[in-house]
Amino acid sequence: MSTDQAHPNPHGLRQRKGTTPQMVGRYPDWDVLDEQGHWDEETRKVVLDRLHKVPEITFFDEREAETLKAFCDVLLAQDEEPRIPVLSYIDEKLAGGGGDGWQYYDLPHDTDVWKIVARGLDEEARKDAFDSFADASLEAQVGIVHRFDQGELHGGVWETVNVARAWKVVVRYACQAFYSHPWAWTEIGFGGPAYPRGYGAFGSPHMGEQESWEPSEAYHFDPVKDTQERGIE
């Protein structure tokens, strides 16, 4: 991964309909929220609450929240508004006890892992002569996240955890928060909740078969080539 982390889409995928994170998306004239009339009531409530009732941050203190918001922005390439407020959902889960059913023997509880990561990111930023991770330049932030990904953070609070496994914990929480949000579904062209409507056209044996309401892709990039060409691999 290079340090060129700004602008998630230099090729200009501009969403025209609805909202997506940073208004990028491959299906610019489609919005998954337009389908909500086809969702069952229980599911609609869960998804719309996620959208409209963003939880208050109560688990993290102010400084931790500032650090971790900046971290999540880099991790998920959310460099401008509109942003999915991922830290609010992460905080909500941790405030409820956290955990997905397991704990590595060489890691503390997920709740403590997140607090340690917040402290550790600030410690790293201070090594680069910034007051905190949130105050660091984007280049410095990306460098720290890169070292975190590689398990190359040492000293201070990082000595109390298995860094590579702590990385897996925070990435998991961040992706759960981001890809459960309907804005992200619109960005990637995921059909969203599908009960009680279901699907009739699911593509076999004629590939590309789609429901009348499913969008067509306006932009087509092979991510392997594209991420290499853009130097973000």
Binding site: M1, Q5, P8, L13, V24, W39, D40, E42, T43, V46, V47, R50, L75, A77, G99, D100, G101, W102, Q103, Y104, Y105, D106, H109, D149, R172, C175, Q176, Y179, S180, A184, I188, G189, F190, G191, P193, A194, Y195, P196, R197, G198, Y199, A201, F202, G203, S204, P205, H206, M207, G208, E209, Q210, E214, E217, F221, D222, P223, V224, T227, I232, E233
Partner: protein, 550 residues
């Protein structure tokens, strides 16, 4: 049996009215108002711990035989209409997965939770993908045939009738099955998605046979259970009632025959009568209060982590190291299956989120082939992660930031094949009690896991096969994630008290009225998903027990 001729005409099970006891327009159980209620002081005929694949079938069979049965279940009694959502994150928030803390360790620590652990009435089957294959005859004699692990004290032929009965009750849909003991299925194969179709084509190019199914999802008329609507949310709990779980396949009938399902009740100890050595009942916690259900017999059906944990926590004077643990075998020989998945990219839009994740599979590599350099083998199955699951695939290869977002935006171009590799039972792959306690005051489980060399060799070979399939299909790129699935073993059945926890009838050695009826009794795991096997074991266990005078 000669198969296709009878498809659709022999589908309805004779001794299980569950599909008729449901309502066409409501998903929850309809006969709860009639459910028997026993008092703790009543000495019921059987108390079952866990309302999953094992406990659900056992309770239904014995209730039909006139036994007074109470099923204690840690989680809730679901009403799919009200409790479940068509949403990946919402399924976890609804509580479908067992997410209470467990400590994991070893060279290959196994992550728990949504992937392998369930709670609530219906057990993990409420969120299993739906694959319901049989074991092969060879699975029961791998020591004799292949010189590895152990033989089972029963053979495939002891379970064959049970497999057929359970397949009719779920019901299982699929093509005529050429592998193992060739057989057919009560429901025809489901139509498959474009995402599965490209995998199938690739396999054909490479000379691999694949078949549609076998999945425990209705594909036709089946009492009041609707047909599948192909919405793709099998792992989030089937709101349709098309995919099988004991909640809808066995427990409605059990209730009709006097079984009580006592939900939100966490068993913490099996109590033995010190004078006789017989099980006297189960101590459990409900609404924060510790209670004791008396019973003539006890069946522990808590699966590979919770069953050993409960037995170990039930130490008493006669069994100072835990009930059934006098040979130090409780909690040992737990197995997972190697479940590496390889995703492949195609230029077309495949939208793998449509149609059920389980669609086509192959058991061509199931048995030992000495040329491959390892014992036993693996099966191949299509899978279809939803967006959060897809992010696990992308981040597993180290992507974050912009490249994560870009691979995620490319979601609709990808399709995924997975393997189930048979791992060997090893004594040190075990569940023990940790120092930490849970909210019920019970020590939590510590699960240690190391793969052996044979395990690693199977996975390496199988990954190569998946790569060849995608190559044959014309994939532009692949992403690989190493992972594990399923849990069995931990209270193995065997031939003598020195080599096992339970005998061939699933009775704990030395405790004549205590049974273990779940996946933990499996001495080896095969390369098959365990749900059908566990149900068949429960069916057989029940068939060996006497009818009660009513």
């Amino acid at each position: 049996m000669t198969p296709s001729l009878f498809k659709g005409s022999i589908a309805m099970p004779k001794d299980n009215d569950s599909p008729f006891l449901l309502d066409k327009h409501k998903r929850g159980l309809q006969n709860l108002d009639k459910m028997a209620r026993y008092r703790d002081a009543d000495v019921v005929d059987l108390v079952v711990v866990g309302a999953g694949a094992g406990g659900g079938v056992l309770a239904q069979r014995l209730a039909r035989k006139g036994w007074k049965v109470v099923v204690l279940e840690k989680g809730p009694l679901w009403d799919p209409d009200r409790d479940w959502v068509s949403d990946e994150k919402g399924a976890g928030q609804a509580g479908l997965y067992w997410t209470d803390n467990r400590i994991i360790s070893g060279n290959d620590p196994i992550e728990m939770g949504k992937n392998n652990s369930g709670q609530g009435v219906g057990g993990s089957m409420t969120h299993f993908a739906g694959y319901a294959p049989r074991l092969h005859p060879s699975d029961f004699e791998v020591k004799t045939r292949d010189g590895v692990a152990v033989d089972w004290p029963i053979s495939y032929w002891d379970l064959k009738d049970a497999f057929e009965r359970v397949e009719r009750e779920l019901p299982v849909a699929g093509e005529d099955w050429p592998w193992g003991d060739p057989h057919s299925y009560p429901h025809s194969p489901h139509p498959i998605s474009g995402a599965a179709y490209v995998a199938w084509e690739g396999a054909r190019q490479y000379g691999i046979d694949m078949r549609v199914g076998p999945v425990a999802i209705t594909n036709g008329v089946f009492g009041n259970r609707p047909h599948c609507i192909y919405r793709g949310f099998c792992l989030e709990g089937c709101k349709v009632n098309a995919k099988a779980s004991p909640l809808i396949t066995h427990l409605p009938d059990a209730i009709e025959f006097g079984c009580e399902i006592r939900a939100d009740s966490m068993a913490v100890k099996v109590e033995l009568d010190d004078a006789t050595g017989r099980a006297a009942g189960v101590t459990y916690v409900k609404d924060g209060e510790e209670r004791f259900q008396r019973a003539e017999a006890v069946a522990v059906c808590g699966y590979a982590i919770e069953t050993p944990r409960l037995l170990l926590n039930s130490a008493c004077r006669r069994h100072p190291n835990g009930i059934g643990n006098n040979a130090d075998l409780v909690g040992r020989y737990v197995m997972v299956q190697g479940a590496t998945q390889v995703a492949a990219r195609f230029p077309e839009l495949l939208r793998m989120y449509k149609a059920p994740p389980p669609e086509v599979s192959s058991e061509q590599f199931y048995e030992t082939d000495e040329d491959r350099g390892f014992a036993r083998g693996f099966s191949i199955q299509t899978v279809s992660p939803l967006p959060i699951g897809w992010a696990e695939h992308v981040t597993a290869e180290g992507h974050w930031g912009q490249s994560l977002r870009e691979y995620m935006r490319d979601y609709n171009h990808w399709t995924v094949l997975g393997i189930l590799a048979e791992f060997m039972p090893e004594a040190e792959n075990r569940v023990t009690l940790a120092d930490e306690q849970d909210e019920y005051g019970m020590p939590i489980a510590h699960f240690n896991y190391n793969r052996c060399e044979n395990d690693k060799a199977i996975v390496d070979f199988a990954k190569g096969v998946l790569m060849e399939i995608w190559d044959g299909a014309g994939a532009e790129d692949t992403l690989t994630i190493d992972r594990y699935a399923h849990l069995v073993g931990g209270a193995r059945m065997g031939f003598t008290p020195d080599d096992s926890v339970v005998d061939a009838s699933l009775r704990v050695w030395d405790v004549e009225n205590l049974f273990i009826v779940d996946g933990s009794v499996m001495p080896t795991e095969g390369a098959a998903n365990p749900a059908l096997v566990i149900m068949a074991l429960a069916d057989r266990c029940a068939s060996l027990l006497d009818r009660k005078a009513t």
